[in-house]
Structures are given as structure tokens and as C-alpha cells.
Amino acid sequence: MKAIKSLFDKNLIFIKNVQEKREIFTLIGNLLHERGMVKEEFTKSIIERENNYPTGLDLSPVAKDIPNVAIPHTEPEFCLCKCIVLVKLLKPVLFQNMIAPDKEIDVKYLFFIINNQKGNQTNILSELMGFFTTAENMKKLEQLDNKEEIYQFLTNKNIEIKGVQ
């Protein structure tokens, strides 16, 4: 997590209420495009990609009482910067499970990986996984309900991460 702390931004943390995943993709895609962080085709691309290669992560193997996450991302050619956009949903929406696409899971946290660089040095996903699979972190996120607190938590140098690969 240490390696990717700089990828979080106070202005890229959102708390939203939506009915389904397409709605949040459109909302975030438009917003990032307005800020010049992604290309116009980003929204279409991320929706298409999520349909073909879903990114929902079932965290029930980690702990029974923590919410699931998704890591929507698309090809570097549609991105104009490198950052992580976090969306906390007030109520979960359905995603397909990344490692078992025929299964649907309720997802409450979206970590969009925006990356315009191919073959990046830091494996962003691997770092995020270390964060997700530490149950205390997901429980802590559940307790935080404003963006400032969430940002402080994500970038806190004392954040707990399991040291396993």
C-alpha cells in the first residue's frame, strides 16, 4: 500500500448512491473526462470491459462480515494519468465475480485503477489486494462516512497490511 499511497487523491474519493453498475461507470467516467483524466471513450470502454472481463472480488474467503470490492479498469490507451478512484456505495450493486464470472456478488467499494502506462513498475493491483485481504481495513472503511476521513485512512503511514505474497 505504501507504494501506491500517492495514487489516492481527496478529490477522487466519492460516496454515491446508484441502482446498478452501469450508472456508476457513466457517472465516474464523465467526471474523469471533464477533469481531463481520461479520454472520452473511457466510459464506453470500461463498461464493455467489465461485461467481458468482470472485476468483482468476493472477499468472503477473507472474512464473512466484510463487504466485497471491484477493481474496474481498462486499457492504458483510454487513460491520461495514473491514479486510483475510490467509490463507496451507500448500497451494494451487483458485479460478476472476476475469478468465477458466472457468479454475481454484491459490491460496495469500487477501486477504479486508472493507468496510462503499460508495464508499470508498481503492481497497483497486488498492493490493493494486500489492503482488501486485511479484514480490519475493510471494517474500518465501513465505519468511515466522509471523504476526508477515508483519504486520511488510506494514506495513513500506520495502515495495516498483511505481509504475504
Binding site: Y53, I71, P76, N123, M129, V164
Partner: protein
């Protein structure tokens, strides 16, 4: 040398993590392997035929029949040893068969 093809939707996040994890673990277990990470939609039959093992995240369909062994590697992504172990074990048994 065993050549492994890892793949995911965008070719930047999951497949690279799988590549790194497989390379580290198989080295530890004493095998010489090489893993390439690519975008699923870039895979052709010719490309696939140049590898010994295919390790997608989950079951993946192509417009052609896959002739090499397939090991679904998704659980490795969690970085939880108990989830990754069955994948690594399956991969090792496939490597042993090919290595003979």
C-alpha cells in the same frame, strides 16, 4: 524451459500479478519457467501454440481449441497462501508432466 502464457482483459494488472507470483513460486520450487502476460483479445491460435501452459484468470473461450494445458490462476490474485496453493500445486503437476 517451460513457457507459460498469462492473460487478462486489459493485460496490465491481473496478468502481471499472476506472472510475478507464478515466477516467484515456481523458482522457489526449483523450476525454470518463463511467463508472458498479454491481453486476452490479442491471443491467436499461433501465439497460444508457442506456449506450454495457459494460465487465464478464469475459464476463457476462444474461436479455436486450446491444445495446451490450462490452469485457472484467478485465486492467486488474492495473495492468500491458502487460496494460491491449489493453483500452484496444479501448475507444478502440469509442469512435471511436460518436463518428463
Amino acid at each position: 524451459m517451460i513457457k507459460i502464457l498469462a492473460a487478462c482483459g486489459a493485460g496490465i494488472n491481473s496478468s502481471h500479478q499472476i506472472k510475478t507470483a507464478i515466477e516467484e513460486e515456481m523458482k522457489k520450487r526449483g523450476y525454470t519457467i518463463k511467463v508472458d502476460a498479454v491481453v486476452i483479445k490479442d491471443i491467436t491460435e499461433e501465439m497460444m501454440n508457442q506456449y506450454d501452459i495457459f494460465t487465464p484468470i478464469s475459464k476463457t473461450k476462444f474461436g479455436f481449441d486450446i491444445k495446451i494445458p490450462v490452469v485457472e490462476a484467478g485465486p492467486i490474485l488474492y495473495r492468500i497462501p491458502a487460496m494460491a496453493a491449489p493453483v500452484f500445486n496444479e501448475l507444478e503437476s502440469v509442469i512435471k508432466k511436460i518436463d518428463k
